[in-house]
């Protein structure tokens, strides 16, 4: 049996990678992927705890997170396409105006 601390450390590493990627990447797609990484880091800690305590609620949470992430991906990608159409760039440093 792998101790839970391993899972939590991995989850923390994944989340930290996500945060770092979010902060240092300029491309919107990369930032988007970093968000997914953070979500999955959290998911990992959920399932780890679920296995630890033999409680199903953690797994149910993970399903919810996946569903929401899927929906978010759909909306987010649509926004990204729209942003690219109007501004012809995906560099967030250049997308700093609400109104053109």
């Amino acid at each position: 049996m792998v101790p839970i601390s391993y899972y939590l450390i991995l989850s923390g590493i994944l989340f930290a990678c996500g945060v770092t990627g979010f902060l240092i990447k300029r491309n919107i797609i990369s930032i988007f992927m970093s968000i997914e990484l953070m979500l999955n880091g959290v998911n990992l800690s959920f399932v780890a705890f679920a296995a630890q305590w033999h409680a199903l609620s953690g797994q149910v949470f993970v399903f919810f997170v996946m569903v929401v992430a899927a929906a978010e991906a759909a909306v987010g990608l649509a926004i990204i396409i729209s942003v690219y159409r109007t501004r012809e760039t995906l560099n967030v440093d250049q997308v700093d105006l609400l109104k053109l």
């Binding site: 945060v19 979010f22 902060l23 300029r26 930032i31 440093d93 700093d96 609400l98």
Partner: protein
């Protein structure tokens, strides 16, 4: 059961007129405005007359309560009206003279701008004045008191585009405020110590008290403070300075407010508070001294003035001084008697002066008049009546009232009498001076006054001309009253029975045993040592007749002097003036009282206010606080503003930093 007289109608009717004319008058024609104003002031007069006819059947004092106003604990002040002999006399004078002056104003103000404004103010004044005299408690009286001050301010500054008029209005208002301060403190003292402002309750609680002897007590303090209020409203030393300046207002206003009614409010108030004053000999002595000094002081200034209205203004101040002498020696009914006759003849004199000014196209300087006798005969004859009345020549009204005051003053102290007599001589002199300068000799003005000179008055239409009938009729009515008005108070020594004094008797009757009304009260207030050795019987027939003779001869001497100086030998006054030199210049400049007040009070006040209140407190504290906090907010938000850059990654950074902080905090809490 006492009948309901609907006393509230008396003040409210003019108020309705004021509201209608004030709000909608701009669109009305002049006839409509004048009609409305006359209708409502006349209706008030009619109601007063009907009340007067039913008065003898009434149980007095008659009180009618309209509504509860203030009720706090045991203190209560209502919208209630109080009718007794004193307020009935005041009502008749105010509405009667007021109505006549309304009629006169229709003619006088006909060619002025702001016709509706004038009549709205005039009706508003009537409302407040009637509230003042009908009030059943000091608080409601104070409402009227302040209200007439407001109306006076509005009417003095009626030609508000003229700087001097606007300044005069402000001066009147501010000087009155000083007096009102004293009045208010007196009211607070009354509430604190007697728990009521109601006339009847105050009377009940004051009556059992004994006169305060040997200096100051509560009643003396109240009396003196009330006198401060009265001095403000009734233009006595040291607060008289506003009244001469108030002549900037239209002449009917001077007649109504600054001669006949409003300025007598102080006399009315002192008379209304006679129970307090009778128990405060020190306060009464102060009243008498102030009255005496004012009478003399104003009369001397009146001798040197050249503006026809200014002469009358100083004469008003002087006559008010007489009324306060009467109050001060405890002869309240004599004061009210003189108040009434003064309302007739001074109202008449002002209206006649207005008619003269009208005739000579707005000129007010008597040196520019002369020889008007034949050109404006109606004005001349009515003014003659007024002049004889004020000079105290029998059988005109002023003779009886002034003579009664002098007689009562003599009973108190010969000093009051001597000064009063000398003032009577001066009064006669300056009034006949006015009379001779205006109506006799040759016309000294420009042949045809140019219209430009008369711009603010707008009376410039052609040569010297008699006033229209609408102005002449009030003059005639007032002239008749000035002749006959005194006959109701003929003293016993001249074969009369002083019916007026008896009529007012119930009001001024003292309810305390040991405090007799009449000369008894007077002798108590006299300074000790002056009166005690010569007790005068009340009907000291022979000496009273002798005194009457002396005062009549004083009036005649005044007439003779005026005739000598201004008719017989018109160059003589100039020589006398240059002989007197500095003293004459001081009198012409009104003893430099205005300059003195400016140096003593106005300038230090303005300088102090500018330095401490304006620069110190307003700019350095209030403004600075506000400005600095605004600057601070501006700078802080300016620095915070840069956080909201629109840069996504900086936002993410803030979020991450915040989250990290929260985690650190939670770890810290968890491990503590």
């Amino acid at each position: 059961m006492t009948p309901d007289l609907h006393l509230w109608l008396i003040p409210v009717l003019p108020l309705v007129g004021a509201v209608i004319n004030g709000l909608f008058g701009k669109k009305f024609s002049q006839q409509t405005i004048a009609g409305l104003a006359l209708l409502f002031s006349g209706a008030a007069f009619a109601v007063v007359l009907s009340v007067a006819f039913r008065f003898s059947a009434l149980a007095t004092p008659h009180t009618e309560t309209l509504a509860t106003w203030i009720r706090a604990g045991s203190f209560q002040a209502d919208f209630a009206f109080y009718l007794d002999h004193l307020s009935l006399v005041m009502l008749l004078v105010v509405t009667g003279v007021g109505f006549l002056i309304h009629i006169y104003s229709v003619g006088y103000m006909g060619e002025e701008g702001g016709f509706y404004r004038f009549f709205a103010y005039l009706n508003l004044f009537m409302f407040f004045m009637l509230t003042l005299v009908l009030a059943s408690n000091y608080l409601l009286m104070f409402i009227g008191w302040e209200g007439v001050g407001l109306a006076s301010y509005l009417l003095i500054g009626f030609w508000f585009t003229k700087d001097t008029a606007a300044a005069a209005g402000k001066k009147a208002f501010i000087v009155n405020r000083i007096g009102d301060f004293g009045f208010l403190i007196a009211l607070f003292l009354l509430i604190k110590h007697f728990g009521s402002l109601n006339f009847e309750q105050v009377a009940q609680r004051v009556s059992p008290l004994n006169p305060e002897t040997g200096g100051a007590g509560l009643l003396t303090a109240i009396g003196l403070l009330l006198m401060v209020g009265a001095a403000g409203k009734s233009a006595q030393i040291p607060l008289y300075v506003w009244l001469p300046d108030a002549m900037e207002g239209p002449t009917p206003v001077s007649a109504l407010i600054h001669a006949a009614t409003m300025v007598t409010a102080g006399v009315y108030m002192v008379s209304r508070s006679h129970l307090i004053f009778e128990r405060a000999p020190t306060a009464l002595t102060v009243v008498a001294i102030v009255g005496t000094l004012t009478a003399l002081f104003a009369a001397t200034i009146g001798v040197t003035q050249t503006d026809i209205k200014k002469v009358l203004a100083y004469s008003t101040v002087s006559q008010l001084g007489y009324m306060f002498i009467a109050c001060g020696v405890g002869a309240f009914s004599a004061a009210i008697f003189h108040l009434m006759t003064h309302a007739f003849f001074k109202g008449l004199l002002f209206l006649a002066a207005g008619s003269v000014i009208h005739a000579v196209s707005g000129e007010q300087d008597m040196r520019q008049m002369g020889g008007l006798r034949t050109k404006i005969p109606w004005t001349f004859w009515t003014m003659t009546v007024g002049t004889f009345a004020i000079a105290g020549i029998p059988p005109f009204a002023g003779f009886f009232s002034k003579d009664e005051i002098l007689w009562r003053a003599y009973q108190a102290s010969w000093v009051y009498w001597a000064i009063g007599l000398f003032t009577a001589l001066l009064t006669s002199f300056y009034m006949f001076r006015l009379w001779f300068l205006t109506f006799f000799g040759v016309y000294r003005g420009a042949a045809e006054a140019s219209d430009e000179d008369a711009a603010p008055h707008g009376h410039g239409h052609g040569g010297i001309h008699e006033s229209p009938m609408v102005m002449v009729i009030p003059l005639v009515v007032l002239a008749v009253l000035s002749v006959t008005g005194g006959w109701i108070g003929v003293p016993a020594s001249l074969g009369g029975s002083n019916r007026f004094g008896k009529f007012l008797g119930p009001t001024f009757e003292s309810t305390t045993p040991g405090l007799k009304a009449g000369p008894g009260a007077a002798s108590q207030v006299a300074p000790p040592g002056k009166e005690s050795e010569q007790p005068e019987p009340q009907t000291g027939g022979a000496s009273e007749v002798a005194l009457t003779g002396i005062s009549v001869s004083a009036a005649l001497i005044g007439f003779g002097l005026a005739w000598l100086l201004y008719y017989r030998n018109p160059r003589l006054p100039q020589q006398i003036a240059s002989r007197l030199g500095g003293f004459y210049r001081a009198v012409v400049n009104k003893y430099y009282v205005d300059e003195l007040y400016a140096a003593l009070f106005v300038k230090p006040l303005i300088a102090g206010s500018a330095l401490i209140l304006w620069h110190g407190i307003d700019q350095d504290v209030i403004d600075a606080t506000l400005d600095n906090s605004a600057h601070g907010a501006n700078e802080v938000s300016d620095s915070i503003r840069h956080m909201q850059s629109g840069n996504l990654r900086s936002y993410a950074g803030w979020v991450a930093a915040g989250a990290a902080l929260v985690i650190v905090y939670m770890v810290w809490v968890g491990t503590r």
